[in-house]
């Protein structure tokens, strides 16, 4: 994985700090061209991986990328699924059975709903596989070397003890998409134990990691300990920790953590994108020099 990965929160008005900023972002990124323009800035700054939710609008972005294979030849997308709001709204509207009917492709499901649950009781994993396929459709023809399951889903399954779905996800993504499975979580230590128990060693995990101890369930010390053990390939997200700490200090902290392979960030202005990239590169360089000096 690349050292720096570009995220998509800013495009979809996901701002953990301010509703006002969220609104400004939805206005700024109303048109797909504004998203593409920002992606191009990130690419120019040397970032070639875009990690994004399977939001409807990403389908349009994929379309634009497919049309320009030369320009985007090194470009990779890490899809993150599911786009939870879509399903949560559907369940509110149609109930669980109605949602499955709407989103699981094929006749397969018609038969469950008609024939009763017993008919397919062995096969909820296959339903999940069909739903993965549905979510992956928009990425056809695009390089997606890592496919993620979103934190709401990962952590819901983790709490419910439904490890089989997590393992099933990993197996399917490997086998069908020839991709590495990735897991986004707010509970890295707990998840890692479960994945290891399920036979997944050295998994790719994307988690909130920051100097501010923000959304690091179990606490920063525990995270630092787990990181030092090198049992997983980590992408650090929410590295600014909600803005409590100055950006440079926040980036210095994550850049210098052991076994953090990549850093995920999102920004909407050219200046912020370039600054973040430069700062991470600066600390990486500094560390390399220190190693050589020793």
């Amino acid at each position: 994985m690349e050292r720096i990965i570009f995220g998509d929160n800013q495009f979809f008005a996901v701002n953990h700090i301010s509703d006002e900023k969220s609104r400004a972002q939805s206005i700024k990124f109303k048109d797909d061209s504004a998203i593409i323009k920002t992606l191009d800035v990130a690419i120019a700054a040397g970032i070639n991986t875009f990690m994004c939710t399977t939001h409807d609008r990403i389908a349009n972005i994929c379309e634009i990328i497919r049309k320009d294979p030369v320009k985007y030849q090194d470009f990779k997308i890490y899809p993150c699924m599911p786009y939870a709001h879509k399903y949560a709204n559907a369940v509110t509207e149609m109930g669980i059975a109605g949602t499955l009917k709407q989103y699981v492709p094929g006749n397969f499901l018609g038969s469950i709903l008609k024939g009763g649950v017993a008919y397919i009781s062995k096969d909820y994993i296959s339903i999940m596989e069909l739903m993965i396929d549905a979510e992956m459709k928009m990425f056809k023809g695009i390089n997606t070397p890592v496919i993620f399951i979103q934190n709401v889903m990962t952590d819901l399954l983790l709490g419910l003890g439904m490890d089989e779905f997590l393992i099933g996800f990993a197996n399917y993504v490997r086998q069908k998409y020839n991709a590495e499975p990735g897991f986004i979580t707010m509970n890295l230590p707990k998840l890692l134990d479960v994945l290891e128990k399920g036979g997944i060693s050295n998994p790719i995990i994307c988690a909130s990691i920051n100097k501010a101890n923000f959304r690091m369930s179990g606490g920063k010390e525990l995270y630092e300990k787990v990181l030092s053990e090198g049992r997983c390939r980590v992408i650090a997200m929410q590295v600014l920790g909600g803005g409590a700490i100055p950006a440079s200090e926040a980036l210095e902290y994550v850049s210098n953590l052991p076994n953090v392979e990549s850093i995920l960030f999102g920004a909407s202005s050219k200046q912020n994108i370039e600054n973040t990239v430069d700062t991470i590169r600066f600390y990486d360089q500094q560390r390399k020099e220190e190693v050589i000096m020793q």
């Binding site: 979809f12 700090i17 939805s26 009781s121 952590d155 983790l158 419910l160 920790g241 909600g242 409590a244």
Partner: protein, 337 residues
């Protein structure tokens, strides 16, 4: 270990179950739902013992406490049966369909001497907790007026019917959505006990209100406006906010960001004259297991601690939720005039 059972593993119930499942002091002894698919998946993949009849579950599983997260119309009957059996109860909001029912349950809970809590999670949000603290310490002087608002995209087109579109099941924006704001105002300022006028408007729904606008008064003499609309798709998800005007300053807060303006020189620690901005990230304590907002984990942890008699069980009590039901009914009745 606290033995917990849950009734109603729908959207809210699954979220509770997941947080409970990860809680180190909790053992889940039973889950009850009338949906076959849900029960089937839970039994098979989580290994929980599942039931379709909650009374049978309570009888067999003998829980210390039960979470009730079924549609609102069932809260009253189920909670009553649980209280009769001296079981500690966490129930979802709104508490009941009318304040008579909730008032009865308050008394029953008191008699049974059990821990009782209602799922108004905003009280566990860092910014709102700080607002409450500031108001309680009179930091912005005497409260003269407030505005409580919530907007979000629940019903944004004419669509198929669920329990949320049936007034007799606790559907509608006032019961389902505005209740959060009303409860928050009741807690931070003081209970809303008069309603001068109110409008309950349907926009896309056939049988229930999609928006609520009301002019209200609290027992402390403050007046305010409630403005809530669940058919506003310019919001990605529910956004709840309060604006509170006092003689010595003003507070504007949502779940993410708290802005306070102080007029004078008498200031709480950590604040200065003029505008101050604090973020929820600075005001939030870490939780042991995070699913969808610290407040959801924190309210469950608070309840478990109450059952273990490790705290006072005075947040989101049945009593406070009964007052909220009373305020809701005032607003509803006024709209009919």
């Amino acid at each position: 270990m606290v033995k917990i059972a849950l009734i109603g593993a729908g959207k809210m119930g699954l979220s509770h179950l997941s947080i409970l499942g990860a809680h180190p002091d909790v053992q889940i002894v039973g889950v009850c739902d009338t949906s076959k698919i849900i029960v089937d998946v839970l039994e098979r993949y989580s290994g929980f013992k599942c039931y379709s009849d909650y009374l049978k579950m309570v009888e067999e599983a003998k829980p210390d406490a039960v979470f009730v997260s079924v549609p609102t119309k069932y809260h009253y009957t189920m909670v009553k049966e649980l209280l009769k059996r001296n079981i500690n109860v966490f129930t979802e909001k709104p508490f009941c369909l009318n304040p008579n029912e909730s008032g009865e349950l308050v008394l029953l809970a008191k008699k049974a001497g059990v821990v009782n809590q209602v799922g108004y999670h905003n009280k566990f949000v860092g910014t709102f907790k700080e607002v409450k603290r500031l108001v309680a310490s009179s930091a912005i002087g005497e409260i003269t007026h407030f505005q409580g608002e919530a907007y979000g995209p629940v019903v944004i087109k004419k669509k198929s019917e669920t329990w949320r579109s049936d007034p007799s099941e606790g559907g509608g924006c006032l019961m389902d959505y505005a209740s959060h704001v009303i409860d928050l105002i009741n807690d931070i300022i003081s209970p809303i006990e008069s309603c001068k006028s109110s409008i309950l408007k349907s926009i896309y729904s056939k049988n229930v209100d999609d928006s609520v606008y009301a002019l209200v008064g609290t027992s402390s003499g403050a007046t305010g406006i409630i403005s809530v609309n669940w058919s506003d798709e310019t919001y990605r998800k529910m956004s709840t906010s309060v604006t509170i005007i006092g003689t010595e300053g003003k507070i504007v807060s949502d779940a993410n960001e708290l802005k306070v303006y102080f007029k004078g020189d008498v200031l709480p620690k950590g604040y200065s004259k003029g505008w101050n901005v604090k973020y929820v990230t600075d005001l939030t304590e870490e939780v042991d297991f995070y699913l969808r907002g610290e407040e959801y984990s924190a309210q469950i942890d608070y309840f478990i601690k109450s059952v273990k008699r490790e705290n006072k069980n005075n947040v989101n009590t049945f009593d406070s939720a009964w007052k909220t039901d009373t305020s809701i009914s005032l607003i509803k009745n006024q709209s009919r005039i």
